[in-house]
Structures are given as structure tokens and as C-alpha cells.
């Protein structure tokens, strides 16, 4: 590695503008990526983004791993909503393997995925508040993300990088305690969110800081490949949950909120409305889960011995279970050949998995379509000509997650 890591732009001596390095480790970037901003006074002339600081070669690593070991890689994409990534991966595998999951599993998955969406949007919206100068909302909402993490903990044992669920369902049934915690969250969160909104939505300072900041038209947003809340804020009602329903989302009643101007304020409002929709989806799914009776009310995985680990007590007592356990753990199951693209509505947009299998034990090629990576390239266009402080708030309202960008 030589000294040419420091690349001064051409003609940088004697120029009229200032070069400002925003990142790679700047508190306002909320992640590890760098923006080299060219400033004229406080106005941004150009922005050059450098990413890849936490590139971990997941796609390469995945080529050596059996399917169930790849789930832990997906955790680390968008770590604010890792359960959605996990579920997306399981759904991709299930699509490739042709597994049909029971309805109860689908509904439980919806509960987990929508909780993850809430925790993702909650962080994003409160961080927008922080960057606008209001720390209180962030600290206040953070306590309620804790309630969501406690639910994850009850279901899968971990909090941030969850590795939740398995191919075909969940690793264990939801405990009564998990549902208790869910009820607690459903009861306590709405009034808090309402209070948070009271603080921001019609706050003069907040509105001045966000309205008309970092706007993008629907046409440009589509051209850039925007998806998720950022695309919907520009006025395009594209939602994977509606367009290509997965995990029985077609059984749920919900609205897709859209904005019109695609600026920071609209992105804030869209995320906020989505949280309310998610709450209603969780309630519906929870009601449907409670309606199951008899043996159905205990189902938490599909019956696929080739991919789903047998219960431990069977492994110790039954020959067949022991064989499957061994084969799965050693990664000795061949995946059927085929190529499949599956996408889910992640916290930031369409999270796609393109999986090619040549019939071996590991994927031949796996590509993650990371929404963050796709829409971050529009950043220069969004901030050009705006003030430096607006660039910061634009960045946080796009909800850029370095883990997802670099993969």
C-alpha cells in the first residue's frame, strides 16, 4: 500500500472551494462510509462517496457454506432489522426447495418481520430527529426498541444478530412468555409513538429542517432503483408485500402509505405511517395465531427432515433422527439445482436474494440485492447545492446502513 491513498483532487491547490471529509468514522454518518464533499462556503458542490470499509465478502463465503449456515451472514446485512433478512433467506431456500410452510408459521413470521420493521423505522426516524437537534425522541423511543429485542430474545435467544427461524419454520415454538411480551409491546408502544409524533410532526423547527430537503422525483427515484420507504415517499406505491406477497401477507389488511415530494419530511411521514400499519398487521397476525386450535396450535415448522434439525430427544433415541442430524450439521445435503430470485420488503426496500445452485451442497452463486447499496448512489444528486447540515439529515433519513451497503 503506497502513499497514493491520499488522492488530492486535481487543481486542489489554489482552488476556491473547500474539501471536507465526512467519514469514514464520523458520528453523523451512523456507519462506516466516507463522503468527500466539495464545499463552496456552506453549499455542497459535489459529493464523492467511498464505500466498502466493512466489506466482508459474504457472497464469496456463502459459496462454501450449506444453506442453514448462511442465515448468520444475512443477520449482518441490515443489522437494524436482521429478522427480516433471516426470513428472506429462509423464504429463498424454501422457494428453491419447494417447501410449503404451515399457516401458523407464516403468521408467526409476519409478527417477527413487522416487529423488525418497526425497530428499523423507529431508529431511522428518531435519528433524523437527532440530526435535526432533538436528542430526546431518540432516547425515549430506544427504550421501546428494547421491548422488541426482548421478544426476539424470548423467541431465539439473541438480540441484534438474531439468526431467527430455520428453513421451514422456527427453531422452537413461541413460549407463552413471548406472547406476553408481545402484548406488552402492543399496549405500550402506540401511546409512545403518538407522543413522539406530537413532538416532531408539526414542530416548526423540524418542518423547516426537513421540508424540501434532499428531494427526489418519482421518475428519478425509479431510475435509480429506489425501493421501500424512500421510493414510496416519492409517490410510487411499490411494496413487495403487496406486489409479490410472501409468507401469507395476502391474508393481511393494510395500507401502503405514499408521499409526494420525496424529501426528508415525506420519508419521515412514510416511515411513521408504516409503523402504524405494522402494528395493525401484528395485531391481525396475532389474532390469527390465537385462532388455531388443537394440534395446529402447536405447529411451528414444516415437515422437512432433510433440512430441519430433528428434536434433540429424538436424536438421542431414534436412528433416523440421528442420521438427519448428522447429515444436516455436516452439510452433507445436496441442494436441488436451479436458480431462484426471491425478494422481501426489508426495512429499507426490496431485499433480494439471487441463488443459483448447481446441485452441490452449497450455493453456486448467491447475490444479495441490498437496497441501501442501490440507492446510496443517488446521494450526490440529492445533496448537490444544499447546505452541509442538510446533507447530514438527508443521509440519516435515507437510513443508510453500512452493513447492508458493503455486504
Amino acid at each position: 500500500m503506497s502513499d497514493h491513498h491520499i488522492n488530492l483532487p486535481e487543481g486542489s491547490i489554489g482552488k476556491q472551494t473547500t474539501t471536507l471529509n465526512l467519514g469514514p468514522t464520523h458520528p453523523a454518518t451512523h456507519g462506516v462510509f466516507q463522503n468527500v464533499l466539495e464545499l463552496d462556503g456552506e453549499r455542497i458542490v459535489s459529493a464523492d462517496s467511498t464505500i466498502g470499509y466493512i466489506h466482508r465478502a459474504f457472497e464469496k463465503i456463502a459459496e462454501r457454506r450449506p444453506l442453514y449456515q448462511i442465515t448468520t451472514l444475512t443477520d449482518r446485512l441490515n443489522y437494524c432489522s436482521s429478522p427480516i433478512n433471516n426470513m428472506g433467506w429462509h423464504l429463498t431456500c424454501e422457494k428453491l426447495l419447494g417447501v410449503k410452510t404451515p399457516k401458523r408459521v407464516d403468521y408467526l413470521r409476519i409478527i417477527i418481520m413487522e416487529l423488525a420493521r418497526i425497530s428499523d423505522h423507529l431508529i431511522c426516524n428518531s435519528i433524523v430527529g437527532v440530526d435535526a437537534g432533538a436528542y430526546t425522541g431518540f432516547l425515549y423511543l430506544m427504550q421501546y426498541r428494547e421491548l422488541i429485542y426482548e421478544i426476539y430474545e424470548e423467541v431465539c435467544g439473541s438480540r441484534l444478530t438474531t439468526n431467527i427461524g430455520r428453513i421451514g419454520g422456527f427453531e422452537r415454538n413461541f413460549t407463552p412468555k413471548a406472547f406476553e411480551k408481545l402484548e406488552k409491546f402492543l399496549k405500550e408502544y402506540p401511546p409512545v409513538l403518538r407522543e413522539f409524533n406530537n413532538m416532531f410532526k408539526r414542530n416548526r423547527i423540524f418542518m423547516e429542517r426537513t421540508i424540501g430537503v434532499g428531494p427526489i422525483s418519482a421518475e428519478r427515484a425509479k431510475n435509480y432503483g429506489f425501493t421501500g420507504p424512500n421510493l414510496r415517499a416519492a409517490g410510487v406505491d411499490y411494496d413487495v408485500r403487496v406486489h409479490n406477497p410472501y409468507s401469507s401477507y395476502e391474508d393481511m389488511e393494510f395500507n401502503v402509505p405514499v408521499g409526494s415530494t420525496g424529501d426528508c419530511y415525506d420519508r419521515f411521514l412514510v416511515r411513521d405511517q408504516e409503523m402504524w400499519q405494522s402494528l395493525s398487521i401484528i395485531e391481525q397476525a396475532y389474532r390469527k395465531v390465537q385462532e388455531f386450535s388443537g394440534a395446529e396450535s402447536e405447529v411451528y415448522h414444516a415437515n422437512i427432515p432433510e433440512y430441519y434439525l430433528p428434536e434433540k430427544k429424538d436424536v438421542y433415541t431414534k436412528m433416523e433422527a440421528l442420521i438427519w442430524h448428522f447429515k444436516i450439521i455436516m452439510g452433507e445435503i445436496d441442494i436441488p439445482p436451479g436458480e431462484v430470485y426471491m425478494s422481501v420488503e426489508g426495512g429499507n426496500g426490496e431485499l433480494g436474494f439471487y441463488l443459483i445452485s448447481d446441485g452441490g451442497r452449497t450455493p453456486y452463486r448467491l447475490h444479495f440485492r441490498r437496497p441501501c447499496f442501490v440507492y446510496y448512489q443517488a446521494y450526490e444528486e440529492l445533496v448537490k447545492g444544499s447546505m452541509l447540515s442538510d446533507a447530514i439529515i438527508t443521509m440519516s433519513s435515507l437510513n443508510l446502513i453500512a452493513g447492508e451497503m458493503d455486504c
Binding site: S2, G52, K60, K222, G225, G338, Y341, G352, Y354
Partner: protein, 167 residues
């Protein structure tokens, strides 16, 4: 879904005849192959045609097939028609000796980084790309790490044993 896979196939065959080939529908998504010098023409046709309207580039990536002679690299495009909600996938194959493919950045601004990533990992040279340089790896890297000639380390390898740190 008002736009069926058969109809898309028909329209493509009308316009490009024999040039588009290998139609398949794995898991319901129409997949086909185009010659590499035609990739932009095919994409532009899909974009501009009043019936097809594939105006959203979902994803773009490459796959390496070292065993295929003269067509080792496949560049895969996933396109989406948001109005009729139908998706297609098309591939162009190129050799590693001359991995030149036309860029899609004129049609889709979002292709910029996706193509840079594809170049970074597979060395596909996108002709006409405004800024084709590495994106996730360091600039000094002189190989394309996702190609199959760079296998991941053998898990059972012993020659790297270290007194202090073990494996």
C-alpha cells in the same frame, strides 16, 4: 398480471428473432439469453416498448462458469415492470479474455454502482461506463476475487498452523 410470459416471449421473438434464445421459466420467472453485443438493444426495447415497459432495474450481477468455453462470464439482469408487476431475467455471456459488455447506465442511473460492483468482483468491462473503478475492494487489488479460480481456504488446511494463534 396482465402481461404474461408468453406474450413477452412473443414480442421479443418478433423484434429479435433467433437472437434471443434459451427461454426458460425457472420458478415462474421468464429467463432468456441475448448475444452480448445486443444487450443494450434488448434492454432498450424492453424499456421503451409500450407494451413491455420494463423500466425498473432490480438487480445486475455476474456469474462465473469456468467450464464453459468462450462464455465463462454471465452478466445477469433482473428487470421489473412495475405497472403490470412482472419480472424477467436475461443473461449475456462473455469470455474472460474479452469481458466487454455495454453499460446500462444510460438507461438506468442505478446501474452505475451495480456495474462497478460487477467489475470489482468479476472483471466485466462495461463499455461506456462513466466511472468504472473498484467499489468495495481496495483500488490496488489486481485480481477479481469472486471468480472461481480463487477458492475459499480449505477448512482442514494444516500448513498455516500458528504457535500463538492456532488456526
Amino acid at each position: 398480471m396482465s402481461l404474461s410470459n408468453d406474450r413477452i416471449k412473443e414480442r421479443l421473438a418478433e423484434r429479435f428473432g433467433e437472437q434471443v434464445s434459451n427461454f426458460a421459466e425457472p420458478y415462474g420467472m421468464l429467463t432468456f439469453e441475448a448475444p452480448k453485443d445486443q444487450n443494450l438493444k434488448v434492454m432498450q426495447f424492453l424499456y421503451e416498448d409500450e407494451e413491455l415497459k420494463f423500466r425498473f432495474l432490480t438487480d445486475l450481477q455476474a456469474v462465473h462458469y469456468p467450464h464453459l468455453q468462450e462464455r465463462e462470464l454471465a452478466v445477469v439482469y433482473h428487470l421489473h415492470n412495475l405497472e403490470d408487476n412482472s419480472r424477467i431475467r436475461f443473461k449475456v455471456f462473455t469470455s474472460t479474455a474479452t469481458p466487454d459488455v455495454f453499460t446500462a447506465t444510460k438507461l438506468f442511473a442505478g446501474a452505475n454502482w451495480m456495474e462497478r460492483e460487477t467489475y470489482d468482483f468479476y472483471g466485466v468491462n462495461f463499455i461506456g461506463h462513466p466511472n468504472l473503478k473498484r467499489i468495495l475492494n481496495v483500488d490496488e487489488m489486481d485480481y477479481f476475487p469472486m471468480r472461481k479460480e480463487f477458492p475459499l481456504e480449505e477448512q482442514t488446511r494444516v500448513d498455516k498452523d500458528d504457535e500463538m494463534f492456532g488456526r
